[in-house]
Amino acid sequence: MNPRVRAIFQKILPASLLAALMCSCGIFSPRQSQTPNGNGTTDPLNFSAIGGTQYPFPTLQYEDLFQGDDPIYNDENSRPSTKAALIARLNQIANAYPHIQVNWTVTDWIPNSSDDSVTVNVGKYDIILNTSTNPSDTAGSGTAIFILVQNAGWHISSWTDYPAQGVSFFSPNYNQ
């Protein structure tokens, strides 16, 4: 064999072997995942309306949607809550009321040039527990102010809730 060809073989062979080893062992292949539960990507509490189309959230998974220092959530009629407690409460609401509908009426999005955040003023929100059976089955209403920050897409760093009456339905301190 031509020495030059042999040298090329000598170099390509180990590279090919190493590449084949990587592929055959599945070193860089994802593991088998389970088919998603329930209805897939949902937004039962309609948080996508907070960002609107100008400030879309890259994910509606609460763990990533809420990003910031605690307390992210403040209910004006109750004590502040941790992010973990808020997420637990939101999941509890979504599981308990599969037909829940939350209408957020955003009055304006105000960019803050000093820190590149955006203040979202919610002039009114309504929570309808069961849209399929009783559209008047409301669980509360109020106003709210959200602060959005950018970190590989927009996220909610602060949520101040001004419930119309009593402790907010969203609050982890809500007592049925």
């Binding site: 390509i12 590279a15 190493l18 994802p30 998603p36 897939g40 990507t41 996508s48 998974q61």
Partner: protein, 677 residues
């Protein structure tokens, strides 16, 4: 090399604030997998310049509300039988709007006289005074520390040894008024203590002529009831066998243990003198490797590394944060003769191990993971849910072919996998076992040679896979595919004139792994798309030996949005909707022009110029049709100065920023000088 007194003081300061110092002794293994890791290489010794030096530098940044200054001076005169070193560091930062400023001064230094001790030892004095003064609207506070004591140094054969010790003192007051008067001195609190330490060995020199590089340092400080100590050590054995193969063994360990008081911000917006939590941080690495000599044009190598890192807070149960990572790494690499026409370099590195939270507590009584999940109200249990197995794999493959006319064709494959397997998953998406995998293919054709035209053209294809295993979050599984094409061209018809053009075009497309879960009847969630095009044209013309003109024009277009595929929407409404198109959410165009004129003389270079930036951004509404236009401009005239006279040099740059956006105008001033003789 052995750490200096100032470096070790910095280690203590870092340790008491809870930051990780383990990198001091435990070398990182993050590098391309076909590169021999740096912890197997002896440290490089700094070149000793036989001259006196005075280095001065200052950097000021002033924006509308934020102001920061960092000024430094190092005085290092060359004396016949003495080594004298004096640092002066002054830092300020603050927010003018909030009337908050922080100031810090460090005046560390040392003087050491050669041959002042038996055995040709050196004797000297070290000092390390520092002071913080923080001002808030509600009040102000200060903290000052000083370490002062003798140091003794010997060199036994080629091994340096030093012992130091002395007194420590601290003074503070965290409740001063905003305007200071005589009360400051009178009302200060104070405490006294001592410090001591040693250093042995040199990571850049052989230990008694053996193929061994040893180094160990320790420094401890005790002031009243608080004490802190930092110990680091490393040993490297590197030996070439008669066969040409090389053997390597490395051991590194670091430990910081203790607590200290320091001035910190209080929750009320004022200041308070706090004690840092008692913290024990340990890090250990043991590694061994063999690098074979080249055989059959190929040089294989292998190494194994074991690391054990832990952080404990023995007296703080309010937020359980004790965590320990034990990792094992195997790496195999292969390379060919780089002078040959065909060059190959490849490596595969696999790291696996466990991260264990609250590792010093027994959780067996809690039983199953389900029980743990059901009892998350316990802080310990919540922390324990973070336990997971770590699996990180990385591979790099490089193939280069030298073509006629000095052209080179290169292919690079980079693969990286980061997988976490949580042991306590019970329905919580925080602890969902996942894989993140990146694979990048890069093909490059470099057009070299001694021509007027040189450059390279390249293409890239990459995938990024996000994979959650449990059903609760697997709907988010996606594959992001990236494409890139690029061209770099240099035109240089003469030595005095050159033009460079760099063009790149990017596109990123995301595909959901479970598309139906993002489609009707769920809320339509079309996958994100984004594109980018960038051009950078730079030119330089040396009009004469004294005058040089430079110019640059950079243009970047970027947009992002979604692929509005018909499969994501209600089939009964698709006919009346616009579907299967790229819906843009956001578009931006940025242009930057820079023109500069430089005067070049024997004494230095002065450049005067101006940079103009124009930014256009267009956020679209939810119909992807209507958009707003936001425009902003920034003008930055600047002067860049570099002068030298004999062994004195001075460099500085002053930039004035004038922006159409409120609060973004300001100054950026930087000056640095050095004198040596």
């Amino acid at each position: 090399m052995a750490a200096s007194f100032r470096e070790m003081e910095t280690m203590i300061s870092t340790a008491r604030r809870g930051a990780v110092i383990v990198g001091v002794a435990v070398a990182t293994v993050l590098c391309q997998t076909y590169e021999w890791p740096s912890f197997f290489a002896p440290a490089r010794r700094d070149t000793v310049v036989d001259s006196s030096k005075l280095r001065l530098s200052t950097q000021d940044k002033v924006f509308e509300n934020d102001e920061s200054t960092q000024s430094g001076l190092v005085w290092d005169p060359h004396l016949a039988t003495c080594h004298f070193l004096q640092h002066f560091l002054y830092e300020t930062s603050g927010d003018i709007g909030l009337h908050a400023t922080n100031q810090y001064v460090d005046l560390s230094g040392s003087v050491v006289r050669d041959s002042a001790l038996p055995g040709n030892g050196a004797l000297g004095l070290e000092w390390s005074p520092t002071a913080h003064y923080d001002l808030r609207e509600q009040g102000s506070g200060f903290e000052s520390t000083v370490d002062l004591g003798p140091v003794m140094q010997w060199r036994i054969d080629s091994v340096p040894v030093s012992i130091r010790g002395g007194v420590s003192g601290t003074a503070w007051n965290d409740s001063l008024p905003s305007s200071l008067g005589r009360a400051t001195i009178d009302s200060a609190n104070g405490a006294a203590g001592y410090y001591g330490g040693f250093s042995l060995g040199d990571t850049a020199a052989r230990f008694f002529g053996l193929p061994l590089y040893l180094s160990a340092q320790a420094l401890g400080r005790s002031v009243e009831q608080d004490a802190i100590a930092v110990l680091t050590g490393s040993a490297l054995f590197a030996h070439k066998l008669p066969s040409g193969d090389s053997l390597f063994a490395y051991f590194g360990d670091s430990l910081s243990n203790g607590k200290e008081d320091y001035l910190a911000a209080s929750s009320s917006g004022g200041l308070q003198y706090l004690s840092s939590p008692w913290r024990i941080a340990q890090s250990l690495q043991a590694a061994g490797g063999i690098k074979f000599t080249e055989r059959f044009n190929l040089q294989p190598a292998f190494y194994y590394s074991y690391t054990d890192k832990s952080v404990e807070y023995p007296n703080d149960d309010s937020v359980p944060s004790d965590v320990r990572d034990i990792l094992q790494t195997y790496c195999f690499m292969l390379s060919s003769d780089s002078a040959a026409h065909l060059i190959y370099r490849g490596g595969l590195r696999i790291t696996s191990g466990n991260e264990v939270w609250l590792f010093d507590k027994d959780f067996s009584r809690f039983g199953s993971p389900t029980y743990i999940f059901d009892h998350q109200d316990s802080l310990d249990i919540t922390a324990k849910l973070e336990d997971h197995q770590i699996y990180i794999a990385a591979a790099d493959q490089y193939l280069g072919i030298k073509l006629p006319h000095d052209w080179i064709l290169e292919y690079k494959l980079t693969a990286f996998r980061d997988s976490k397997t949580y042991s306590s998953f019970a329905g919580d998406t925080n602890y969902n076992t996942n894989d993140h995998i990146t694979i990048n293919n890069h093909l490059d054709l470099a057009l070299g040679g001694a021509h007027k035209w040189t450059g390279n053209v390249y293409g890239e294809y990459a995938t990024y896979t996000v994979n959650y295993l449990e059903s609760e979050e697997s709907a988010q599984n996606s594959v992001q595919t990236g494409y890139r094409l690029g061209l770099n061209v240099k035109f240089q018809p003469s030595e005095r004139f050159s033009l460079n053009e760099r063009i790149a075009a990017d596109a990123e497309i995301t595909d959901w792994m479970y598309e139906s879960f993002h489609s009707y009847p769920n809320i339509p969630d079309p996958p994100p798309f984004q594109r980018m095009f960038a051009s950078n044209l730079a030119g330089k013309w040396e009009c004469s030996k004294m005058i040089e003109l430079t110019g640059r024009w950079t243009e970047t277009y970027a947009d992002n949005g979604v692929w509005a595929g018909s499969q994501y929407f209600n089939p009964s409404k698709v006919d009346s909707m616009r579907t299967n198109y790229y819906g843009i959410n956001f578009k931006s165009i940025e242009n930057t022009f820079t023109l500069g004129t430089a005067l070049i003389r024997a004494w230095g270079r002065v450049e005067v110029g101006c940079e103009v930036q124009d930014n256009l951004s267009m956020p679209f509404d939810n119909t992807f049709q209507k958009y707003d236009i936001n425009q902003s401009s920034l003008i930055e005239p600047y002067i860049d100065l570099g002068v030298h006279y004999h062994r004195v040099s001075l460099n500085g740059k002053v930039i004035r920023m004038i922006s159409t956006v409120p609060n973004e105008s300001g100054w950026n001033i930087g000056i640095a000088g050095q004198a040596a003789w």
